[in-house]
Subunit: 335 residues, 4 copies
Amino acid sequence: MAFRMQFLSDNAAAVHPHVWEAMHRADAADTPYDTDRLSAQLDDAFGALFNREVAVLWAATGTAANCLALATMVAPHGAVLCHREAHIETDECGAPGFYLHGAKLVLAEGEGAKLTPATVRAALDAIRDDVHQAQVHALSLTQATEYGRCYRPHELSAIDAAVSGRGLRLHMDGARFANAVAFLNVPPAEAAGPVDALSFGCVKNGAMGAEAIVFFDPGLAEIARWRRKRAGHLQSKGRFLAAQVLAMLDGDLWLHNAAAANAAAAEIGRGAGERLLHPVEANEVFLHCTAEEREALRAQGFGFYDWGPDAARFVAAWDTRQEHAQALGDALAGL
Amino acid sequence: MAFRMQFLSDNAAAVHPHVWEAMHRADAADTPYDTDRLSAQLDDAFGALFNREVAVLWAATGTAANCLALATMVAPHGAVLCHREAHIETDECGAPGFYLHGAKLVLAEGEGAKLTPATVRAALDAIRDDVHQAQVHALSLTQATEYGRCYRPHELSAIDAAVSGRGLRLHMDGARFANAVAFLNVPPAEAAGPVDALSFGCVKNGAMGAEAIVFFDPGLAEIARWRRKRAGHLQSKGRFLAAQVLAMLDGDLWLHNAAAANAAAAEIGRGAGERLLHPVEANEVFLHCTAEEREALRAQGFGFYDWGPDAARFVAAWDTRQEHAQALGDALAGL
Amino acid sequence: MAFRMQFLSDNAAAVHPHVWEAMHRADAADTPYDTDRLSAQLDDAFGALFNREVAVLWAATGTAANCLALATMVAPHGAVLCHREAHIETDECGAPGFYLHGAKLVLAEGEGAKLTPATVRAALDAIRDDVHQAQVHALSLTQATEYGRCYRPHELSAIDAAVSGRGLRLHMDGARFANAVAFLNVPPAEAAGPVDALSFGCVKNGAMGAEAIVFFDPGLAEIARWRRKRAGHLQSKGRFLAAQVLAMLDGDLWLHNAAAANAAAAEIGRGAGERLLHPVEANEVFLHCTAEEREALRAQGFGFYDWGPDAARFVAAWDTRQEHAQALGDALAGL
Amino acid sequence: MAFRMQFLSDNAAAVHPHVWEAMHRADAADTPYDTDRLSAQLDDAFGALFNREVAVLWAATGTAANCLALATMVAPHGAVLCHREAHIETDECGAPGFYLHGAKLVLAEGEGAKLTPATVRAALDAIRDDVHQAQVHALSLTQATEYGRCYRPHELSAIDAAVSGRGLRLHMDGARFANAVAFLNVPPAEAAGPVDALSFGCVKNGAMGAEAIVFFDPGLAEIARWRRKRAGHLQSKGRFLAAQVLAMLDGDLWLHNAAAANAAAAEIGRGAGERLLHPVEANEVFLHCTAEEREALRAQGFGFYDWGPDAARFVAAWDTRQEHAQALGDALAGL
């Protein structure tokens, strides 16, 4: 932690001042759990954002948001189809197995951790329709993906069309949904596409410990309420989570924060040039980088993760200072 | 929520200013999850409090704390012995069933929601030692109980002696452990007795969304770490939870807050006199009260819960104003 | 096992010759799992018995049958209402917790282990309709009960009426359904009443290792098929289970066997006279009996279980010899 | 099922006459569950076979046997390492997810569905040792594999050495263990290698519905007993399962039956020649075969499964008639 300029992750960034203010305002007495006045505003706030009726629950983490959403869609004897490098597969310590009571994750391929109609179909078609193999009940997409790649609206539609008639539910892990919307420059509803539930990330984007699960099928939210309590995620001072989420929506803070992070990543990407492993779309930069080069960068004060033996990952956050991004871009260009 | 003087619960009270300050200090960049400098201080801070080596994890809610602790002690084919009115049985929507993968809760009796050596033995002896009945792997005590009653150290020892030789683990739900210690006026270690893990409550006592799970057997904490992640309870900005917990310990804020709540409850109890259903030990007051009397109290601006047809529950919090408690005591005396 | 005359249980009795014959006939090659010709006959065979469309699955044990049926009716965050002395509560080592992923069992009272409209309503009304308490999704009745008591058709209707409008599913544990029908002397459909699924017991009544789960709502069977496979209960030579079940139905063997067992129990009951703890309706006899008296009986060659310190349980099976029942009746009369 | 000569699978073959006889002998009254005299003989019978102390439980299916064994080795937050084409991954409808409460299956590669030290190490090394990724608690090998390939004793030792120091338990899915031993021509203990538990298959080899779980660490069996009951797999007339298993051991019936099946497969393999996809080691034959060729074979009366678009699978069973195997071999040679 001695690095002056941090690009390790967006997941531990500072809390935005507007979020702090909203939390302080929420300190006034109110009723417990999600019966408070702020929690009651979530449906309307997100309804306005997505321009349709939604039911919204807060949860403290993205893992909880993803799993609570999926638990409403997938029976224990079913399966979730996701990318081989989806967060639910690689970084949640089997949380879907816990929340879905042993349902399987079926893994599909795709460049940049993006599923495609072809890879989805291939994964589905490999499953025999008999009782010996768990059938896929839901598809989980990540927007933006683990490599910071964004699904275009037409790509979401094409995937939806590809699974049409199979009775699948659709979930979107939107831990970095804001970054995707900022990049795509489309209305949020188009960036979400035809999904039944969206884990709308806030923690990586300026909040402290609150994500929103946006159910486009409100009936699913009714199930998720029980599961949330049962998972110990119904905080008694839930008003502080609602306050965080509402503050993110207020004045489109979520979008401004994401745009700032994306801009910093773009700056880094410009410096990286040919080194880039993936086009920089959201707030993450993956690039070729030898061990010696990484050492040199760290010596200059840049903190970041190795990404295998010959690569590195740099993540910009809402509060990444533009001069740090510039300095990193310059350093990369100068390697 | 129109009541001027709230005695509904301590679970939605305001956040103590010292906790706010600690959280703000924690905003500075640090590493994610529980790798930050504050989380690293928990073991020592609680070690000092309990005067022995402990391993401590934060969790957002009491339900999560209880279940994560129990999940380290009870196999899925086992059972937890608890009081019929324990929170894990009555108010967690089956969370223990979720976290313990279907392990049973075996219910025992006891006045004031307190287990006794006799009721514990009776419950255990009713279980045949054969494969057709789930065997008890752990005993869960609540300090203070759901009725605000406190186990004296010798009572804890007696229960421990009663189950000796049966290979049981002991857990303590200490959502209101602070109130118990304030009442008992003994060192925390004596109020916890011989338990293997303690859910050390902070949320009801001035924190926002952080409890501490204190493992007196550090080996159990190693299991709990995985379970916490897997349950979506490993918050990426965990430093804010650690900050809350440390702030509660700092200068014995936990004890001062609890003492204030207890004092308010005692004041109410004095006014209640013969109406009391339980001696007032911690911060809760249960009393006989007809529907008409409850209406009269509410008309005077007091908010509280009915407790069945002929009783009411009043809960004082750390921030209950002494004049409100007095006013309530007077009102009760004047019924 | 040195006792000449066994009344320990019906659960380990011999296999009926007709069942053996049917199993031998099934040895001829056929397709695996439940794709064989015998398994395919189950729906029609039970459809004829119950005079309505049903979907039927075999399972090796009553515990599996009960739990597979309930798993189609109860979400993990829900609960099953059953009698405090129901087999699923007392003798399945938490199997419902396993199969239902932690759903709770809510216990109700009733004489002779029979639920009543009043006890069912009392148990349901004690549950707050909020997210902190698991809601009941299904009611499980046992016909005949653990004490050999039988629900009359009008009693089943009354319970059904009592839960009307609550959206509950109904399950019947019919490990001794045959004995109940033989006693009630009504069509099987009336003894089952308005349930959605019935565990139709065969093992205690002349089969070797096969029960039938009769789904009166065939949609539930579609779920149960997956759960059965997933539980390791889809035997590859399933034709042998189907053969057993069909043999039980053939020529009403199930009813004749049950009638024989009931007759033996009635004979014992006549000898027991005033000692009886419960009226003898099915094939079980519970009676007052001191330790000395039990010793005397065992000295005469009768095998049976103690039932607490002052009672004993005698169970007759399909193959209990009438002279043994008579001898026991005489011995009891002569105590 | 119109084919005169069946090579679809060994899983629905007839029951061996010796097994029938043993079952009939077991019909005599005995005590329920696994308290009977036959179940009590299992430990010694397998102890003699493996020349060491073991604890043995019966279970009705291979899926149950595998999952009950693994459930004693793997915590819900852990993982099982197995081959990508292992039965527990591909053909048990998520049963490991159910029995292991959501633990993951980590998949490794290897020719012929055989793991190697290198592929095992590669899979293990890909898992970060942090709380975000489920750690492997057990390794599951299949002997013979899904492609009828057998691990030589030195290969088992090498895999064991490769995972040494990682604290892994070892499980062997031996649904066709007999075929492997018959092929390897080594003592059973060498074919099992250093595993902690072996699912010793009988159903595919002449039994009706009984497998043996052989625990080389008897402490694990103590856990499995509870899990078996809780899974509804503790049959009350367990003596019939014990009888089947003991009959398989008696006079080495298990080995003779497997040798017969292997011989038939070898005969087929000889005819297949260059078409073979895998060397024929056990009782399965996989070969290249166009759709037209498959049609021609079926027209000659041979029943078998397609194996993708250009291949077919033929399985010989203990009761495969030598002239059928010869006819098939000839037909393949003549294609």
